[in-house]
């Protein structure tokens, strides 16, 4: 496990005042805030910044960190000495670095998952508390909403060893995603969050559903939007065309005189539910290329035979 220099993370001197720590933290929290930052590693940097602030803004934790980290360089292999925290009494009032946020192994090794109770918080006499809820985003294909899916999700969970020290372990869960889910919906896995303390129940794992982007489909709520290319003669004359939609192969009637940009709705063919979504077809007329003499002749014939000027309305009345 690599030593993290929290002073370096916040860019402050070791003797920085509480105000200087707060100022540096806010500056970096703005820079790496995941909602607005364009930095590619914003999430990781924000976690580090949150962790650094959680430690350096708390006098108890800062003092403990200064003691245990004395002589270490950033990136150096780190092992806290046994009973390093003897003599420190954590108040337990500190807030974890970001509710539901991920913790580095380094932070968890020193301060425990909750961040406020110290490494031995789990041995707290009659203390009872429900375990923390965890959050994760699960990325699905659009087709999964029609058929259901199974996904393996890896969680990083703290576990106390025989000495009561907290170690972070990976825990893999195989989760069945029922069909009919849509983006932004939450799936609750009861009891799969952090363990409770003193006999209290474990927290829950809340999975937020999101879809990978797709070349042809777009999802809005339970509705599916699909770009449907059609030939000029299908659009002009009307036709029945095959449509490969998620969850179904359909035959759809294109009305004569359809134009690019026209939207057709197929009721009930969106994401399944008691009130299923709809399938929207966005028509796109695609012209065949005029690369052969025969194809050019067809276009030239159309130009001669069809008195058609798509700019007529735009040029009407123009000088």
């Amino acid at each position: 496990m690599e030593f993290k220099d929290y002073y370096q993370v916040l860019g402050v001197e070791r003797g920085a005042t509480a105000d200087e720590v707060k100022k540096a933290y806010r500056k970096l929290a703005r820079k790496y805030h995941p909602d607005v930052s364009k930095e590619p590693d914003a999430n990781t940097r924000m976690r580090d910044v949150n962790e650094a602030n959680a430690v350096l803004s708390d006098p108890e934790k800062r003092a403990a960190y200064d003691q245990v980290g004395r002589g270490y360089q950033p990136g150096q292999d780190f092992r806290p000495p046994p009973d390093w925290d003897a003599g420190f009494e954590f108040s337990g009032s500190g807030e974890p670095p970001g509710a539901g946020a991920d913790f580095s192994d380094f932070f968890s090794q020193i301060f425990g998952r909750r961040g406020g109770g110290g490494a031995r918080f789990q041995q707290g006499g009659n203390f009872q508390a429900r375990g923390q809820d965890h959050h994760a985003k699960v990325m699905l294909e659009i087709e999964d909403a029609f058929e259901g899916a199974e996904r393996q999700i890896t969680l990083r969970v703290p576990k106390a060893d025989a000495q009561g020290r907290v170690q972070v372990e990976d825990r893999a869960l195989n989760v069945k995603i029922p069909k009919g889910v849509f983006a932004g919906q939450m799936i609750r896995l009861a009891g799969q969050g952090s363990p409770g303390h003193g006999g209290a129940p474990a927290g829950d794992l809340l999975l937020e559903v999101a879809f990978n982007s797709h070349d042809r489909y777009r999802v809005e709520g339970r509705d599916i939007h699909l770009r449907l290319p059609v030939t000029p003669w299908e659009a002009a004359l009307g036709a029945v065309v095959p449509v490969k939609a998620p969850g179904a192969n359909l035959e759809v009637r294109i009305p004569a005189g359809a134009q690019s940009g026209r939207q057709m709705r197929v009721r009930g063919k969106g994401i399944p539910a008691a009130s299923p979504g709809d399938l929207y077809l966005d028509l796109q007329v695609v012209l065949p290329p005029a690369q052969t003499p025969e194809a050019k002749a067809v276009y030239e014939n159309m130009a001669r035979e069809l008195a058609f000027d798509p700019r007529a309305a735009a040029t009407e009345g123009a000088p």
Binding site: D35, G98, E150, N174, P178, G184, M186, D204
Partner: protein, 102 residues
């Protein structure tokens, strides 16, 4: 629990989380949620506290507001305003994405 066990999740419907559940999911006490609902910062379904339910979107908004309050010592009014602007930004990004411009 082994990695072979298959866990079946419960899909939260449009009014899925109770007051206690959303408070737990945001790592706040229920008073924080009640205050933010009564000030109009969080949307809620239900006319009485005892039958309040919160959507997944409300949970995301609550977590966002909580993070802004915590990270910047922001007052709730300011955190809600920032959350409004972030929501607006999300909506604009969705429109850009829809138009193939992102």
């Amino acid at each position: 629990m082994t990695s072979r066990d298959l866990i079946v999740g419960i899909v939260l419907d449009d009014a899925g989380l109770t007051l206690e559940q959303i408070a737990g999911a945001c790592a706040v006490d229920r008073t924080w949620v009640v205050t933010h609902v009564s000030e109009g910062y969080l949307p809620v379904v239900g006319d009485r506290e005892s039958n309040w339910h919160f959507t997944a979107a409300a949970l995301n908004r609550a977590r966002r507001i909580r993070a802004i309050e915590r990270d910047f010592d922001a007052v709730p009014e300011l955190a809600a305003l920032v959350a409004d602007m972030l929501d607006e930004m999300d909506a604009l990004r969705t429109r850009l994405n829809r138009g193939g411009l992102s």
